[in-house]
């Protein structure tokens, strides 16, 4: 296919018969195939990988005054406050009763896992009584912090739906965060 009969040209030495030098016209396609496959790979990967990914967020309905809201047990609630400078403060149980810990995003996963295990152990691995996480993004937090913390919950497999509460940040929480320079 890639060959052509080239019987013209050739050496013109000598006066008699024109000797036709058969040049091989077979082109080496290896490099071309390499390039083609490289491009194919590139396009295949970019088409399937450039699909945007979404994380679904559900927030509690503001207007509905639901009478049978679930009460959270303090012992299985972990509240995470998102502060500025990519810092979080978290505490277990009720606000004000336990001292919050301040951590960066690198360590929060360990804390969540530790608390998850603690709650699971205390309740005898009852699947209905797992750790409940309340996220409270404050005005100092960036959007990335919020996405990151939701992602951490996904990674640590917190099954109870996270409560995102950006309205009820108590004064005690604010004071604590201000004192530690993350609000």
């Amino acid at each position: 296919m890639a060959e052509l009969d080239t019987s013209s040209g050739g050496g013109k030495k000598g006066g008699g018969k024109v000797r036709t030098k058969k040049a091989n016209t077979k082109v080496d396609l290896t490099a071309m195939v390499d390039l083609a496959f490289l491009l194919i790979t590139f396009f295949m990967l970019t088409t399937s990988l450039s699909k945007p990914i979404a994380m679904d967020i559900a927030k509690p309905d503001k207007d509905v005054k639901d009478e049978n809201r679930l009460e959270l047990r303090a012992s299985q609630t972990m509240t995470i406050l998102l502060g500025k400078n990519n810092k979080v403060a978290w505490y277990m149980g009720e606000a004000g009763k336990s001292q919050p810990n301040i951590e960066g995003f690198g360590d929060i996963r360990k804390s969540i896992l530790a608390n998850k295990k603690k709650v699971a152990d205390a309740n005898g691995n009852n699947p209905k009584k797992t750790l409940v996480v309340v996220i409270k993004p404050t005005s100092g937090a960036s959007y990335e912090n919020f996405v990151n913390i939701m992602d951490e919950l996904n990674i640590t497999k917190i099954t109870a739906a996270p409560a995102i509460d950006d309205e009820n940040i108590t004064d005690a929480e604010k004071d604590f965060m201000k004192k530690n320079g993350i609000l």
Binding site: M55, D56, S139, F146
Partner: protein, 205 residues
């Protein structure tokens, strides 16, 4: 005894067929690949480990960055229907050509008052440069974002009889209160569930 003659065969294979296939596939992938639409707003998406792809139809996309909000609803028919409803609400009239042009405009961030001028700009580059894109007004006196959302939800419901999904593309460095303001607008319309668009994180982060 004569030595057994091993016939020397050429080791080069005919690559032609392979080359043909490769280029056929290449052409196919190039043609099916959708060109990445440049965002009018320069944002960096946060990364996450989620793997749920975003649907392409019946979805509205809010782009939040630098304190501005841009809006886009998927689908030409929905875009045009939304524009009709907005025109009615804000007492602006659009010619059929303008409707048609609006149907292919991507994400935009212009107030209703300058939308007509915005549509009539020749191309996307001129629109980006025009300085008209100051973001869609979201304050409570003139909440156009809310109107856009409501009208496109109506349009989606009428045309495709499904519920419209809302997705948020936020800049990673955007402050949370800005995002919260937008989310509050969504919640006022009882949109309590929405998707945050992120990029895939490379490995365990």
């Amino acid at each position: 005894m004569p030595r057994a003659k091993v016939k020397r065969k050429s080791t080069s294979i005919d690559m032609t067929a392979m080359c043909d296939v490769a280029f056929l596939l290449l052409t196919f992938f190039i043609l099916t690949a959708t060109a990445r639409q440049p965002d009018p707003l320069d944002i960096k998406l946060p990364s996450s480990s989620y793997k749920i792809p975003v649907p392409d139809v019946d979805i509205a996309k809010l782009t939040i960055g630098h304190g501005k909000v841009f809006y886009e609803v998927a689908g030409k028919d929905v875009k045009m229907a939304t524009l009709d409803k907005m025109a009615e609400q804000y007492k602006v009239s659009f010619t059929p050509q303008e409707r048609e042009r609006f149907g292919v405009i991507q994400s935009f961030g212009v107030p209703m008052q300058s939308l007509k001028a915005f549509i009539n700009l020749p191309d996307e580059a001129a629109r980006t440069k025009s300085g008209l894109q100051i973001g869609i007004p979201t304050d409570s006196l003139d909440n156009q974002l809310s109107a856009w959302l409501l009208n496109s939800r109506k349009a989606v419901a009428e045309l495709h009889s499904t519920a419209m999904r809302v997705s948020i593309k936020g800049d990673a460095k955007e402050e949370y209160p800005v995002v919260k303001k937008i989310v509050d607008i969504l919640q006022k319309q009882k949109i309590n569930k929405f998707s945050l668009i992120t990029t895939a994180a490379g490995g365990a982060k």
